[in-house]
Protein backbone atom coordinates (compact mmCIF):
# COMPACT_ATOMS: atom_id res chain seq x y z
CA UNK A 1 0.00 0.00 0.00
CA UNK A 2 1.27 3.43 0.56
CA UNK A 3 3.10 5.31 3.20
CA UNK A 4 1.37 6.73 6.18
CA UNK A 5 0.49 10.38 6.21
CA UNK A 6 0.37 12.56 9.22
CA UNK A 7 -3.15 13.76 9.74
CA UNK A 8 -2.66 16.19 12.55
CA UNK A 9 0.55 18.11 12.18
CA UNK A 10 -0.39 20.10 9.14
CA UNK A 11 -2.14 23.28 8.36
CA UNK A 12 -5.26 24.07 10.30
CA UNK A 13 -6.33 26.72 7.78
CA UNK A 14 -5.82 26.99 4.07
CA UNK A 15 -5.14 30.72 4.03
CA UNK A 16 -3.30 32.75 6.65
CA UNK A 17 -5.77 34.56 8.87
CA UNK A 18 -5.08 38.02 7.42
CA UNK A 19 -5.35 36.79 3.83
CA UNK A 20 -8.61 35.05 4.70
CA UNK A 21 -10.02 38.28 6.07
CA UNK A 22 -9.02 40.19 2.95
CA UNK A 23 -10.65 37.55 0.72
CA UNK A 24 -13.81 37.66 2.81
CA UNK A 25 -14.08 41.43 2.54
CA UNK A 26 -13.30 41.46 -1.17
CA UNK A 27 -15.99 38.81 -1.63
CA UNK A 28 -18.59 40.98 0.07
CA UNK A 29 -17.53 44.07 -1.87
CA UNK A 30 -17.61 42.28 -5.20
CA UNK A 31 -21.01 40.73 -4.50
CA UNK A 32 -22.28 44.21 -3.68
CA UNK A 33 -20.81 45.50 -6.93
CA UNK A 34 -22.36 42.60 -8.85
CA UNK A 35 -25.77 43.35 -7.39
CA UNK A 36 -25.45 47.03 -8.25
CA UNK A 37 -24.25 46.45 -11.81
CA UNK A 38 -26.48 43.44 -12.44
CA UNK A 39 -29.71 44.99 -11.20
CA UNK A 40 -29.24 48.67 -11.94
CA UNK A 41 -26.22 49.80 -13.88
CA UNK A 42 -26.30 47.39 -16.80
CA UNK A 43 -28.89 47.95 -19.50
CA UNK A 44 -31.65 45.47 -20.26
CA UNK A 45 -30.93 43.15 -23.17
CA UNK A 46 -32.49 44.15 -26.51
CA UNK A 47 -33.87 40.65 -27.13
CA UNK A 48 -34.37 39.13 -23.71
CA UNK A 49 -35.16 42.24 -21.74
CA UNK A 50 -34.64 42.21 -18.00
CA UNK A 51 -34.61 38.39 -17.77
CA UNK A 52 -31.15 38.42 -19.22
CA UNK A 53 -29.86 39.80 -15.91
CA UNK A 54 -30.12 36.29 -14.48
CA UNK A 55 -27.11 35.52 -16.64
CA UNK A 56 -24.95 37.61 -14.29
CA UNK A 57 -25.53 34.98 -11.60
CA UNK A 58 -26.00 31.88 -13.74
CA UNK A 59 -22.78 32.04 -15.73
CA UNK A 60 -20.52 32.91 -12.77
CA UNK A 61 -22.13 30.14 -10.70
CA UNK A 62 -21.43 27.62 -13.47
CA UNK A 63 -17.89 28.92 -13.76
CA UNK A 64 -17.31 28.57 -10.02
CA UNK A 65 -18.72 25.04 -10.09
CA UNK A 66 -16.25 24.04 -12.76
CA UNK A 67 -13.38 25.65 -10.89
CA UNK A 68 -14.44 23.79 -7.75
CA UNK A 69 -14.57 20.39 -9.44
CA UNK A 70 -11.29 21.12 -11.18
CA UNK A 71 -9.68 21.85 -7.82
CA UNK A 72 -11.18 18.65 -6.40
CA UNK A 73 -9.56 16.66 -9.20
CA UNK A 74 -6.25 18.44 -8.84
CA UNK A 75 -6.18 18.00 -5.08
CA UNK A 76 -7.07 14.31 -5.44
CA UNK A 77 -4.22 13.80 -7.89
CA UNK A 78 -1.86 15.57 -5.51
CA UNK A 79 -3.01 13.22 -2.76
CA UNK A 80 -2.47 10.18 -4.96
CA UNK A 81 1.01 11.29 -6.00
CA UNK A 82 3.20 9.89 -3.20
CA UNK A 83 5.57 12.83 -3.05
CA UNK A 84 2.84 15.40 -2.52
CA UNK A 85 0.59 13.23 -0.38
CA UNK A 86 -0.86 15.13 2.53
CA UNK A 87 -4.11 15.23 4.46
CA UNK A 88 -4.34 18.85 3.27
CA UNK A 89 -5.26 17.69 -0.23
CA UNK A 90 -7.88 15.30 1.05
CA UNK A 91 -9.61 18.12 2.92
CA UNK A 92 -9.33 20.48 -0.04
CA UNK A 93 -10.81 17.85 -2.38
CA UNK A 94 -13.78 17.19 -0.11
CA UNK A 95 -14.44 20.83 0.70
CA UNK A 96 -14.17 21.89 -2.92
CA UNK A 97 -16.51 19.16 -4.16
CA UNK A 98 -19.15 20.12 -1.62
CA UNK A 99 -18.99 23.78 -2.66
CA UNK A 100 -18.96 22.73 -6.31
CA UNK A 101 -22.13 20.75 -5.74
CA UNK A 102 -23.81 23.78 -4.16
CA UNK A 103 -22.79 25.92 -7.13
CA UNK A 104 -23.94 23.27 -9.61
CA UNK A 105 -27.31 23.04 -7.91
CA UNK A 106 -27.56 26.81 -7.98
CA UNK A 107 -26.61 26.87 -11.67
CA UNK A 108 -29.45 24.46 -12.43
CA UNK A 109 -31.94 26.46 -10.37
CA UNK A 110 -30.92 29.73 -12.02
CA UNK A 111 -30.95 28.16 -15.46
CA UNK A 112 -34.48 27.03 -14.82
CA UNK A 113 -35.50 30.50 -13.61
CA UNK A 114 -33.93 32.00 -16.70
CA UNK A 115 -35.49 29.46 -19.05
CA UNK A 116 -39.03 30.17 -17.95
CA UNK A 117 -39.27 33.84 -19.11
CA UNK A 118 -36.92 33.41 -22.09
CA UNK A 119 -37.86 30.01 -23.48
CA UNK A 120 -41.28 29.65 -21.87
CA UNK A 121 -40.34 26.42 -20.08
CA UNK A 122 -38.65 25.59 -16.79
CA UNK A 123 -36.41 23.01 -18.34
CA UNK A 124 -35.11 22.58 -21.86
CA UNK A 125 -33.13 19.67 -23.19
CA UNK A 126 -30.24 21.93 -23.86
CA UNK A 127 -26.85 20.24 -23.99
CA UNK A 128 -25.36 22.42 -21.27
CA UNK A 129 -28.26 21.96 -18.91
CA UNK A 130 -28.29 18.20 -19.38
CA UNK A 131 -24.58 17.74 -18.86
CA UNK A 132 -24.66 20.03 -15.84
CA UNK A 133 -27.42 17.88 -14.38
CA UNK A 134 -25.37 14.71 -14.93
CA UNK A 135 -22.40 16.48 -13.35
CA UNK A 136 -24.54 17.23 -10.32
CA UNK A 137 -25.35 13.56 -9.83
CA UNK A 138 -21.76 12.45 -10.47
CA UNK A 139 -20.47 14.61 -7.64
CA UNK A 140 -23.42 13.75 -5.43
CA UNK A 141 -22.15 10.18 -5.71
CA UNK A 142 -18.61 11.28 -4.90
CA UNK A 143 -19.79 13.02 -1.73
CA UNK A 144 -21.85 9.97 -0.79
CA UNK A 145 -18.66 7.89 -0.96
CA UNK A 146 -16.85 10.48 1.14
CA UNK A 147 -19.58 10.38 3.75
CA UNK A 148 -18.98 6.68 4.45
CA UNK A 149 -16.97 6.51 7.68
CA UNK A 150 -13.65 4.69 7.50
CA UNK A 151 -10.07 4.75 8.63
CA UNK A 152 -8.78 8.24 7.61
CA UNK A 153 -6.16 6.95 5.21
CA UNK A 154 -8.61 4.48 3.68
CA UNK A 155 -11.25 7.15 3.26
CA UNK A 156 -8.74 9.55 1.75
CA UNK A 157 -7.49 7.02 -0.78
CA UNK A 158 -10.98 5.84 -1.68
CA UNK A 159 -12.14 9.44 -2.12
CA UNK A 160 -9.15 10.46 -4.21
CA UNK A 161 -9.60 7.51 -6.57
CA UNK A 162 -13.33 8.18 -6.82
CA UNK A 163 -12.69 11.83 -7.66
CA UNK A 164 -10.43 10.81 -10.52
CA UNK A 165 -12.77 8.19 -11.97
CA UNK A 166 -15.69 10.60 -11.68
CA UNK A 167 -13.74 13.33 -13.44
CA UNK A 168 -12.88 11.05 -16.35
CA UNK A 169 -16.59 10.82 -17.05
CA UNK A 170 -17.05 14.60 -17.28
CA UNK A 171 -15.64 15.12 -20.80
CA UNK A 172 -17.39 11.97 -22.05
CA UNK A 173 -20.71 13.21 -20.73
CA UNK A 174 -20.17 16.64 -22.27
CA UNK A 175 -19.11 15.26 -25.58
CA UNK A 176 -21.92 12.73 -25.89
CA UNK A 177 -24.63 15.14 -24.77
CA UNK A 178 -23.44 17.88 -27.13
CA UNK A 179 -23.30 15.44 -29.97
CA UNK A 180 -26.74 14.13 -29.16
CA UNK A 181 -28.32 17.57 -29.16
CA UNK A 182 -26.58 18.80 -32.30
CA UNK A 183 -27.28 15.62 -34.25
CA UNK A 184 -30.88 15.23 -33.30
CA UNK A 185 -32.14 18.69 -32.70
CA UNK A 186 -33.19 20.44 -35.85
CA UNK A 187 -32.87 24.19 -36.14
CA UNK A 188 -32.60 25.52 -32.63
CA UNK A 189 -35.98 26.47 -31.30
CA UNK A 190 -34.33 27.70 -28.18
CA UNK A 191 -31.21 29.63 -28.43
CA UNK A 192 -29.51 28.99 -25.16
CA UNK A 193 -26.18 30.26 -26.39
CA UNK A 194 -25.26 33.56 -24.98
CA UNK A 195 -25.08 36.31 -27.45
CA UNK A 196 -21.35 36.00 -28.08
CA UNK A 197 -20.91 39.70 -28.54
CA UNK A 198 -21.62 41.29 -25.28
CA UNK A 199 -20.38 44.79 -25.02
CA UNK A 200 -19.58 47.50 -22.58
CA UNK A 201 -21.31 47.53 -19.25
CA UNK A 202 -22.85 44.08 -19.79
CA UNK A 203 -19.45 42.49 -20.32
CA UNK A 204 -18.10 44.36 -17.33
CA UNK A 205 -20.96 43.12 -15.17
CA UNK A 206 -20.36 39.55 -16.25
CA UNK A 207 -16.69 39.91 -15.38
CA UNK A 208 -17.56 41.30 -11.98
CA UNK A 209 -19.81 38.28 -11.50
CA UNK A 210 -17.02 35.87 -12.37
CA UNK A 211 -14.61 37.62 -9.99
CA UNK A 212 -17.22 37.75 -7.21
CA UNK A 213 -18.08 34.06 -7.47
CA UNK A 214 -14.43 33.06 -7.66
CA UNK A 215 -13.70 35.04 -4.51
CA UNK A 216 -16.76 33.56 -2.86
CA UNK A 217 -15.52 30.12 -3.79
CA UNK A 218 -12.10 30.79 -2.24
CA UNK A 219 -13.68 32.20 0.89
CA UNK A 220 -16.06 29.25 1.30
CA UNK A 221 -13.26 26.79 0.57
CA UNK A 222 -11.13 28.35 3.27
CA UNK A 223 -13.93 28.06 5.81
CA UNK A 224 -15.02 24.61 4.82
CA UNK A 225 -11.41 23.44 5.03
CA UNK A 226 -11.09 24.80 8.53
CA UNK A 227 -14.27 23.01 9.53
CA UNK A 228 -12.97 19.72 8.12
CA UNK A 229 -9.76 20.18 10.11
CA UNK A 230 -11.65 20.93 13.32
CA UNK A 231 -13.97 17.97 12.92
CA UNK A 232 -11.02 15.66 12.29
CA UNK A 233 -9.49 17.00 15.48
CA UNK A 234 -12.64 16.13 17.42
CA UNK A 235 -12.63 12.62 15.98
CA UNK A 236 -9.00 12.22 16.94
CA UNK A 237 -9.62 13.44 20.49
CA UNK A 238 -12.56 11.09 20.86
CA UNK A 239 -10.44 8.25 19.55
CA UNK A 240 -7.56 9.01 21.90
CA UNK A 241 -9.85 8.82 24.90
CA UNK A 242 -11.44 5.64 23.54
CA UNK A 243 -7.98 4.09 23.24
CA UNK A 244 -7.11 5.15 26.76
CA UNK A 245 -10.35 3.75 28.07
CA UNK A 246 -9.91 0.45 26.21
CA UNK A 247 -6.39 -0.19 27.40
CA UNK A 248 -7.44 0.56 30.98
CA UNK A 249 -5.59 3.81 31.27
CA UNK A 250 -2.19 2.17 30.84
CA UNK A 251 0.16 4.28 28.81
Amino acid sequence: MSEKINNRDDRSALLPRAVGRVVDSLTLVSIGALTFFGLWASPADVVQGDAQRIMYLHVPAAWAAYVAFGITTLASLLWLWPRTRSAVWDRVAGASAEIGLIFTGLTLLLGSLWGRPVWGVWWAWDARLVSTAVLFFLYLGYLAIRAVPAEPIVRARRSAITAVIVFIDVPIVHFSVNWWRTLHQKATVFNPELNPEIHGVMALTLWIGVVAFTLLYVSLLNRRYQLAYLEEGLEETALDSAILQRSGGVK
Partner: protein
Protein backbone atom coordinates in the same frame (compact mmCIF):
# COMPACT_ATOMS: atom_id res chain seq x y z
CA UNK B 1 1.12 -17.65 -12.15
CA UNK B 2 0.89 -15.20 -15.01
CA UNK B 3 -1.79 -12.55 -15.40
CA UNK B 4 -3.61 -14.52 -18.07
CA UNK B 5 -4.15 -17.60 -15.92
CA UNK B 6 -5.13 -15.42 -12.95
CA UNK B 7 -7.78 -13.74 -15.09
CA UNK B 8 -8.99 -17.11 -16.33
CA UNK B 9 -9.16 -18.42 -12.78
CA UNK B 10 -11.28 -15.52 -11.52
CA UNK B 11 -13.60 -15.32 -14.53
CA UNK B 12 -13.99 -19.11 -14.53
CA UNK B 13 -14.81 -19.14 -10.83
CA UNK B 14 -17.44 -16.39 -11.16
CA UNK B 15 -19.07 -18.01 -14.19
CA UNK B 16 -19.09 -21.43 -12.57
CA UNK B 17 -20.81 -19.97 -9.51
CA UNK B 18 -23.33 -18.34 -11.83
CA UNK B 19 -23.99 -21.61 -13.66
CA UNK B 20 -24.67 -23.31 -10.33
CA UNK B 21 -26.80 -20.64 -8.72
CA UNK B 22 -28.52 -19.54 -11.95
CA UNK B 23 -29.27 -16.12 -10.50
CA UNK B 24 -29.03 -14.63 -13.98
CA UNK B 25 -31.52 -17.05 -15.50
CA UNK B 26 -33.91 -17.32 -12.60
CA UNK B 27 -33.93 -13.72 -11.38
CA UNK B 28 -32.16 -11.12 -13.53
CA UNK B 29 -33.63 -12.23 -16.87
CA UNK B 30 -37.21 -12.45 -15.58
CA UNK B 31 -36.72 -9.03 -14.03
CA UNK B 32 -35.64 -7.64 -17.40
CA UNK B 33 -38.57 -9.31 -19.13
CA UNK B 34 -41.13 -7.84 -16.75
CA UNK B 35 -39.62 -4.38 -17.21
CA UNK B 36 -39.99 -4.80 -20.99
CA UNK B 37 -43.60 -5.81 -20.43
CA UNK B 38 -44.31 -2.89 -18.11
CA UNK B 39 -43.02 -0.40 -20.67
CA UNK B 40 -45.68 -1.72 -23.05
CA UNK B 41 -48.36 -1.14 -20.40
CA UNK B 42 -47.11 2.38 -19.80
CA UNK B 43 -46.77 3.39 -23.45
CA UNK B 44 -49.80 1.64 -24.99
CA UNK B 45 -48.72 -0.75 -27.77
CA UNK B 46 -51.51 0.40 -30.13
CA UNK B 47 -50.08 3.86 -30.68
CA UNK B 48 -47.01 2.54 -32.46
CA UNK B 49 -44.67 4.29 -30.06
CA UNK B 50 -43.07 1.11 -28.79
CA UNK B 51 -41.23 0.20 -31.98
CA UNK B 52 -39.87 3.73 -32.27
CA UNK B 53 -38.60 3.98 -28.72
CA UNK B 54 -37.54 0.34 -28.50
CA UNK B 55 -33.76 1.09 -28.49
CA UNK B 56 -34.07 3.39 -25.48
CA UNK B 57 -36.33 1.02 -23.57
CA UNK B 58 -34.01 -1.88 -24.36
CA UNK B 59 -30.93 -0.12 -23.02
CA UNK B 60 -32.70 1.15 -19.91
CA UNK B 61 -33.75 -2.41 -19.19
CA UNK B 62 -30.22 -3.67 -19.75
CA UNK B 63 -28.87 -0.97 -17.46
CA UNK B 64 -31.25 -1.85 -14.64
CA UNK B 65 -30.56 -5.56 -15.02
CA UNK B 66 -26.82 -4.84 -15.15
CA UNK B 67 -27.07 -3.19 -11.71
CA UNK B 68 -28.39 -6.48 -10.36
CA UNK B 69 -25.67 -8.51 -12.06
CA UNK B 70 -22.93 -6.21 -10.74
CA UNK B 71 -24.36 -6.27 -7.23
CA UNK B 72 -24.44 -10.06 -7.40
CA UNK B 73 -20.83 -10.25 -8.63
CA UNK B 74 -19.69 -8.59 -5.43
CA UNK B 75 -22.19 -10.13 -3.02
CA UNK B 76 -20.69 -13.57 -3.72
CA UNK B 77 -17.41 -12.19 -2.40
CA UNK B 78 -19.06 -10.95 0.78
CA UNK B 79 -20.46 -14.31 1.88
CA UNK B 80 -18.27 -16.37 4.21
CA UNK B 81 -15.50 -13.77 3.87
CA UNK B 82 -14.57 -15.05 0.40
CA UNK B 83 -13.18 -11.62 -0.37
CA UNK B 84 -10.68 -11.96 2.48
CA UNK B 85 -9.66 -15.33 1.12
CA UNK B 86 -9.14 -13.84 -2.30
CA UNK B 87 -7.14 -10.95 -0.88
CA UNK B 88 -4.98 -13.32 1.14
CA UNK B 89 -4.27 -15.32 -1.99
CA UNK B 90 -2.17 -12.39 -3.16
CA UNK B 91 -3.65 -12.11 -6.66
CA UNK B 92 -2.86 -9.05 -8.69
CA UNK B 93 -5.62 -6.42 -8.40
CA UNK B 94 -5.80 -5.80 -12.12
CA UNK B 95 -6.22 -9.53 -12.79
CA UNK B 96 -9.13 -9.70 -10.37
CA UNK B 97 -10.61 -6.65 -12.08
CA UNK B 98 -10.35 -8.06 -15.59
CA UNK B 99 -11.54 -11.48 -14.45
CA UNK B 100 -14.64 -10.15 -12.76
CA UNK B 101 -15.34 -7.73 -15.62
CA UNK B 102 -15.18 -10.58 -18.15
CA UNK B 103 -17.60 -12.67 -16.09
CA UNK B 104 -20.00 -9.72 -15.88
CA UNK B 105 -19.62 -9.01 -19.61
CA UNK B 106 -20.47 -12.62 -20.49
CA UNK B 107 -23.59 -12.45 -18.36
CA UNK B 108 -24.59 -9.11 -19.85
CA UNK B 109 -24.12 -10.46 -23.36
CA UNK B 110 -26.52 -13.32 -22.63
CA UNK B 111 -28.93 -10.88 -21.03
CA UNK B 112 -28.80 -8.56 -24.03
CA UNK B 113 -29.38 -11.39 -26.49
CA UNK B 114 -32.46 -12.67 -24.69
CA UNK B 115 -33.91 -9.23 -23.92
CA UNK B 116 -33.16 -8.07 -27.46
CA UNK B 117 -35.13 -10.96 -28.86
CA UNK B 118 -37.98 -10.23 -26.45
CA UNK B 119 -38.08 -6.59 -27.49
CA UNK B 120 -38.02 -7.46 -31.20
CA UNK B 121 -40.94 -9.85 -30.79
CA UNK B 122 -43.06 -7.89 -28.33
CA UNK B 123 -42.52 -4.38 -29.70
CA UNK B 124 -42.63 -5.40 -33.37
CA UNK B 125 -39.20 -4.04 -34.25
CA UNK B 126 -37.86 -4.67 -37.74
CA UNK B 127 -34.21 -5.55 -37.52
CA UNK B 128 -31.78 -3.80 -39.86
CA UNK B 129 -28.06 -3.22 -39.71
CA UNK B 130 -27.14 -6.27 -37.69
CA UNK B 131 -23.40 -5.51 -37.92
CA UNK B 132 -23.82 -2.10 -36.35
CA UNK B 133 -26.12 -3.48 -33.66
CA UNK B 134 -23.65 -6.19 -32.67
CA UNK B 135 -20.70 -3.77 -32.67
CA UNK B 136 -22.67 -1.33 -30.52
CA UNK B 137 -23.71 -4.03 -28.09
CA UNK B 138 -20.14 -5.31 -27.82
CA UNK B 139 -18.67 -1.88 -27.09
CA UNK B 140 -21.45 -0.93 -24.68
CA UNK B 141 -21.16 -4.24 -22.85
CA UNK B 142 -17.44 -3.75 -22.36
CA UNK B 143 -18.05 -0.27 -21.01
CA UNK B 144 -20.85 -1.42 -18.69
CA UNK B 145 -18.75 -4.28 -17.37
CA UNK B 146 -15.60 -2.20 -16.83
CA UNK B 147 -17.28 0.78 -15.15
CA UNK B 148 -19.64 -1.57 -13.29
CA UNK B 149 -16.79 -3.65 -11.86
CA UNK B 150 -14.90 -0.54 -10.81
CA UNK B 151 -17.87 1.04 -9.07
CA UNK B 152 -19.00 -2.33 -7.78
CA UNK B 153 -15.83 -2.72 -5.74
CA UNK B 154 -16.09 0.87 -4.57
CA UNK B 155 -19.52 0.19 -3.10
CA UNK B 156 -18.83 -3.39 -1.97
CA UNK B 157 -18.19 -3.69 1.72
CA UNK B 158 -19.86 -0.39 2.51
CA UNK B 159 -22.90 -0.27 4.71
CA UNK B 160 -25.34 1.17 2.18
CA UNK B 161 -24.01 -0.64 -0.88
CA UNK B 162 -27.41 -1.61 -2.32
CA UNK B 163 -28.51 2.01 -2.51
CA UNK B 164 -25.10 3.50 -3.15
CA UNK B 165 -24.30 1.47 -6.26
CA UNK B 166 -27.15 2.82 -8.45
CA UNK B 167 -26.50 6.38 -7.28
CA UNK B 168 -22.83 6.08 -8.22
CA UNK B 169 -23.17 4.07 -11.37
CA UNK B 170 -26.17 5.49 -13.23
CA UNK B 171 -24.72 8.99 -13.85
CA UNK B 172 -21.41 7.46 -14.90
CA UNK B 173 -23.17 5.18 -17.36
CA UNK B 174 -25.36 7.95 -18.77
CA UNK B 175 -23.10 8.40 -21.85
CA UNK B 176 -23.15 4.64 -22.50
CA UNK B 177 -26.92 4.64 -22.35
CA UNK B 178 -27.07 7.64 -24.67
CA UNK B 179 -24.54 6.36 -27.18
CA UNK B 180 -25.89 2.83 -27.36
CA UNK B 181 -29.47 4.06 -27.82
CA UNK B 182 -28.56 6.47 -30.63
CA UNK B 183 -26.41 3.88 -32.38
CA UNK B 184 -29.25 1.33 -32.19
CA UNK B 185 -31.71 3.89 -33.58
CA UNK B 186 -29.39 4.73 -36.45
CA UNK B 187 -28.80 1.06 -37.14
CA UNK B 188 -32.49 0.19 -37.13
CA UNK B 189 -33.37 3.21 -39.28
CA UNK B 190 -30.95 1.96 -41.92
CA UNK B 191 -28.37 4.73 -41.54
CA UNK B 192 -25.48 2.78 -40.00
CA UNK B 193 -23.10 5.51 -41.12
CA UNK B 194 -24.50 7.73 -38.34
CA UNK B 195 -24.04 4.98 -35.79
CA UNK B 196 -20.31 4.42 -36.10
CA UNK B 197 -19.24 7.61 -34.31
CA UNK B 198 -21.35 6.47 -31.36
CA UNK B 199 -19.72 3.06 -31.47
CA UNK B 200 -16.37 4.83 -31.38
CA UNK B 201 -17.48 6.82 -28.34
CA UNK B 202 -18.62 3.66 -26.58
CA UNK B 203 -15.27 2.04 -27.37
CA UNK B 204 -13.37 5.00 -25.94
CA UNK B 205 -15.48 4.80 -22.79
CA UNK B 206 -14.82 1.06 -22.47
CA UNK B 207 -11.07 1.41 -22.99
CA UNK B 208 -10.80 4.36 -20.61
CA UNK B 209 -12.61 2.57 -17.80
CA UNK B 210 -10.73 -0.66 -18.43
CA UNK B 211 -7.44 1.21 -18.12
CA UNK B 212 -8.44 3.14 -15.01
CA UNK B 213 -10.00 0.03 -13.53
CA UNK B 214 -6.76 -1.91 -13.85
CA UNK B 215 -4.95 0.82 -11.93
CA UNK B 216 -7.59 1.65 -9.35
CA UNK B 217 -9.20 -1.71 -8.59
CA UNK B 218 -6.33 -3.05 -6.50
CA UNK B 219 -6.24 -0.28 -3.89
CA UNK B 220 -10.05 -0.13 -3.70
CA UNK B 221 -10.26 -3.90 -3.30
CA UNK B 222 -7.84 -3.65 -0.39
CA UNK B 223 -9.44 -0.77 1.37
CA UNK B 224 -13.14 -1.30 1.50
Amino acid sequence: MNAFSEIKLIAGKDLRIEMRSRILLSQVLPFGAIVVLLFAFALDPDRGILARVAPGLFWITVLLAALLAIGRAFSIEQQHGARDGLRLAGLDGSSVFIGKAIAIAVQLAILEAVLGLTVVVLYGVEVHGVVVLVATAAAATMGLAAAGTLYGVLAAGLRARETLLPLLLLPVLAPVMLGATRAFEDGLEGVPGDAWPWVALLTVFALLYTGVGMLAFGPLWEDT
